[in-house]
């Protein structure tokens, strides 16, 4: 599903990843753990091809960073749901509109949009809050809204970049359980975190990254 072969990427001001080899199988739930600045976000950006490797290649499903044309990258991203630490919700739209956005992008009709948004919000436990705006939701609710927006397009992969970074321990734990449920339904999940205590002992692969180099567990 996700393969990185000898991938390196470095920023002009330093940092990045070097010589990363990684395989994430279909339906796998893997944690990417490492301190701040270790290269977790860079690695995720390489997977959704926001950055292109300077050396090596990234293969996600049938999309290969060596061959992909820029105009095809949106089609890769339609297969990936993304969850961020700072949510990336749009404050001028309510929860329904935020969640529906990926479906407008792929051109779903209104009836299908309503069904899928409601289903997705139910799945993350936010049903009944469709009319709420992001600022009217708690941090945990906003992060679940972010998961709902990722889920609504029925992605093959979910990439989560420090999704628990702004959440208290209880809410963080609930979010991880929610992602586990989603994974059980067949979605591959790669979640970056710097909080080892949160993820240890859950039976998932932990990929350690330090100074841009990956060490697998």
């Amino acid at each position: 599903m996700i393969r990185l072969d000898n991938v390196s990427y470095s920023y002009a001001k330093g940092g990045g990843v070097s010589n990363v080899n990684l395989n994430i199988a279909d339906d796998e739930y893997a944690f990417l753990i490492g301190p701040t600045g270790s290269g977790k976000t860079t690695l995720l950006r390489l997977v959704y091809m926001d950055l292109m490797p300077q050396v090596g290649k990234v293969v996600v499903d049938k999309f290969n960073s060596d061959k992909i044309k820029p105009r095809k990258i949106p089609y890769l991203r339609r297969k990936i749901g993304m969850v961020f630490q700072d949510y990336h919700l749009l404050n001028d739209r309510n929860l329904f509109e935020n969640t529906a956005l990926p479906l407008h992008v792929v051109g779903c009709d209104q009836e299908e949009i309503v069904d899928r948004v409601i289903e997705s919000l139910e799945e993350v436990g936010l049903d009944g809050k469709e009319e709420h705006f992001p600022e009217e939701l708690s941090g945990g609710e906003q992060q679940r809204a972010c998961v709902a927006r990722a889920l609504v397009k029925d992605p093959d992969i979910i990439l989560a970049d420090e999704p628990t970074g702004n959440l208290d321990p209880v809410t963080s734990f609930e979010l991880i359980k929610l992602l586990e449920e989603i994974n059980r339904e067949g979605t591959t999940i790669l979640m970056a975190s710097h909080n080892y205590n949160l993820i240890k002992g859950r039976g998932h692969r932990i990929i350690e990254i330090q100074n841009g180099s990956v060490r697998q567990s």
């Binding site: 959704y48 926001d50 105009r71 949106p74 089609y75 890769l76 991203r77 339609r78 297969k79 990936i80 993304m82 990336h88 749009l90 404050n91 001028d92 956005l101 990926p102 407008h104 992008v105 792929v106 051109g107 779903c108 009709d109 209104q110 949009i113 927006r149 397009k153």
Partner: protein, 289 residues
């Protein structure tokens, strides 16, 4: 279809969400199009004026004594075929005698005992021509006939009028192009403000797999709406202004300002679509680079 509706509604909502930038963009489109519309009306009416003046251009051709009337008829027909000639009028010796009598009140035969007035022909040039009208080739061609004795025409005046007209048309075209280019930049910069305000939306759309066209479309639609509103306001101002002032202008300068309101609105709407499309497309494309 649903995607199209979504993009249209996003464009419309942007208008409402960014009232200040919308106002700025509409106002700049309005000003530009009002200036462009005025230039178009002035140019159109200058065309009418040049047509009127060309109508007055007259080339009088006098034939030599002794040229038979049948030959004069043939020559007049040949002159009509020359490029740039609109019509010809033949004046026989008998016609010239009558014209003399009507102008001076006396018969030339009574005065000098014979008719010394030559047969002649009046050559009228074309009126409708966008480019400079050069009468010299016409004169040269007519002069090449041995039967022609003398040609009388307002050579320098025609050249001067035509030259001024050409300079005027060129000047107007340059000003119009400049105004339109400036408006593209103004609209582009105004839309850029909206784009910065919607940076988060653009990033979100890119992350969820929106194509460049999908990201660009609402901004372009919004820009085109600005342009259309500006064009309608400019049309209203120009038509209202002309309706109000045309009688006044006529009473003062005896000039009837002519224009077709529907054509004017059509031209301004078309220009607005083009400039606002170029302006907004430029802004969003630069942002997405």
């Amino acid at each position: 279809m649903d995607k199209m509706m979504f993009l249209l509604s996003e464009g419309m909502k942007n208008l409402w969400r960014h009232k200040l930038t919308a106002f700025t963009a509409i106002f700049s489109a309005f000003l530009t199009l009002a200036v462009a519309g005025s230039l178009i009306i002035v140019t159109q009416n200058t065309n009418k004026l040049i047509e009127y003046l060309r109508d007055k251009y007259k080339i009088e051709v006098f034939f030599k004594e002794g040229v038979k009337e049948e030959r004069v008829v043939e020559l007049v027909k040949e002159f009509k075929k020359i490029n740039g000639v609109r019509s010809t009028t033949m004046i026989t010796k008998a016609d010239a005698e009558k014209i003399f009598e009507s102008q001076f009140g006396e018969n030339i035969l009574d005065l000098v005992g014979y008719n010394p007035l030559p047969a002649s022909c009046v050559v009228n040039v074309v009126r409708k021509r966008e480019t400079k009208l050069n009468v010299n080739p016409i004169i040269k061609r007519i002069k090449s006939y041995p039967e022609v004795d003398e040609i009388s025409y307002q050579g320098r005046l025609i050249i001067r009028i035509e030259s001024y007209y050409q300079k005027f048309v060129k000047g107007m075209s340059i000003i119009l192009i400049l105004v339109l280019v400036i408006s593209v930049f103004i609209i582009s910069n105004t839309v850029r403000l909206t784009i910065y305000a919607k940076k988060e939306l653009i990033q979100a759309l890119q992350l969820i797999g929106a194509t460049r066209l999908f990201v660009k479309a609402p901004f372009i639609i919004e820009g085109v709406f600005h342009g259309l509103i500006g064009a309608l306001l400019a049309s209203g101002l120009l038509i209202g202004g002309l309706e109000f002032s045309s009688n006044l202008i006529y009473s003062m300068a005896k000039i009837k300002v002519e224009y077709e309101p529907l054509i004017l609105v059509g031209i301004l709407l078309s220009i607005s679509v083009v400039i606002s499309y170029l302006g907004s497309s430029r802004a969003i494309s630069r942002f997405l680079k």
